[in-house]
Point group: C2
Chain length 266, copies 2
């Protein structure tokens, strides 16, 4: 049995486009509905109640679009609102944290994992708690990297300033003994090569966009939810506020500007 | 006649502390009440209606504290809500835009003025319109510098990354013929020396913290609103949300952490 219903993805902004981009590559026959809550970004500054409220409203909207799978492409919503979203419906929900943590635990050889993310993600301890829940013997190093999101959104992908900031944040990891680093922010895959260059090629990087997309693809295959091979994949984008810079940012994430964008208020 | 009533200053966040800091230096006998609307920052992303609503609520709160002067230490609120604030009371109100523009127009010799600010401030055209309102023959160059606020708040005040970002944003000004540059963001005085070094010492920098503080001091003196010489200056700080990083940021702006902070919801 094949299933041609769409896949929903949401994020507080456009960072989740890195996950969408990977999904698009490995599942060309699928229809995707991307929702960026751009009026309320960043979620990291909001209270848990507010994040749950926004996440539930968006999830309901996407469930009503008859999606077969919901991907929470936002670290803050994954950390704070996952159960509240799952309680709304029987439609399966995949977040960005669990797939990365499971992969990191499987792949680390010396049980030493590093995590980088925004200030809010690191402070929430969502990754740390999920790792320790699965394996309490893992040694965890964390580093909040607040400048990486603005510098990526400014498009400075091969700029000296970006190199300097990556050095500043990640130099301590070079002398630690970790063998696995989780990119705990959906923006970071964009500068993965620069990060690799700084921390060294012997450290395995867990890229949330690749891992989450591959996890979602496996899930669809295992549950016979995949679309027919000859189904024509389509994309639809919803945002809650429009700013001129979103075109620039989507070009950074996708390599092309977003089309078929619908602005709505929820 | 002397007047010992307090002076109110508000900003969406802590950037207005650069103005407070200058005022504190030149008016040691005054009592200041600083209000940072940290729950709602940045204002630049909000609609004019919302900015007016927040600005009026805060202004009413400060007017009720029996202040003798209100300083709007926020570029966005100055651009959008100044008249709405003035309509609330007969207490005098000083913004950050008008003093800078008047000073820049007085000081430019070749009638060529540059403005740097956040994306929202530059897009609002508040400085541009105010300059042209006073003198339509002025040649204006603008540059939005979205990374400067986050890089200052990260404390990278003498870092290579900051030098690279300043070069990126300001290099075009070096080849233009402007003789006066307005720092259209209350954060920027913190990196004034680095900016000066990049654009050259022949360009006159209009520092909103110095200009606004000096304008306010002149106003108090001219209107016999200054406090008695032996009056003991005090500071009181209100914020609407607390984040760990605010202590770090206030140390960057003031050289010391904020004390006597009250967190309130308005």
């Amino acid at each position: 049995m094949k299933n041609n219903r769409p896949i929903g993805i949401f994020d507080s902004g456009l960072g989740g486009l890195t996950v969408f981009n990977q999904l698009r590559k490995i599942l060309p026959q699928e229809k995707f509905i991307y929702f960026g809550d751009t009026a309320h970004l960043p979620y990291g500054d909001k209270s848990p109640e507010t994040i749950i409220k926004y996440s539930q409203t968006i999830s309901r909207f996407l469930f009503n679009k008859n999606i077969k799978l919901l991907i929470v492409g936002c670290n803050t919503a994954s950390a704070v609102a996952l159960n509240a979203i799952k309680n709304l419906s029987n439609i399966p929900v995949i977040d960005v944290i669990n797939p990365c943590v499971q992969t990191a635990i499987l792949e680390t050889k010396n049980k030493s994992i590093g995590i980088i993310g925004t200030e809010a993600t690191i402070a929430s301890q969502a990754y740390q708690k999920t790792i320790l829940h699965h394996d309490s013997s893992i040694d965890i190093s964390v580093k909040a990297c607040p400048l990486l999101v603005p510098i990526i959104e400014e498009g400075l992908l091969n700029h000296k300033a970006t190199t300097e900031i990556i050095k500043l944040y990640l130099s301590s990891f070079k002398t630690s003994n970790l063998d696995t680093l989780i990119l705990g922010c959906t923006h970071y895959p964009i500068i993965k090569t620069m990060i690799k260059k700084e921390i060294g090629y012997n450290i395995n990087i867990i890229d949330s966009s690749i891992v989450t997309a591959s996890y979602a693809s496996d899930f669809l295959n295992q549950n016979t939810l995949i679309a027919e091979d000859n189904h024509i994949g389509k994309n639809k984008f919803y945002i809650t506020d429009e700013a001129q810079k979103f075109n620039k940012i989507s070009e950074i994430f996708l390599g092309y500007p977003l089309k078929n964008i619908h602005k709505i208020q929820l």
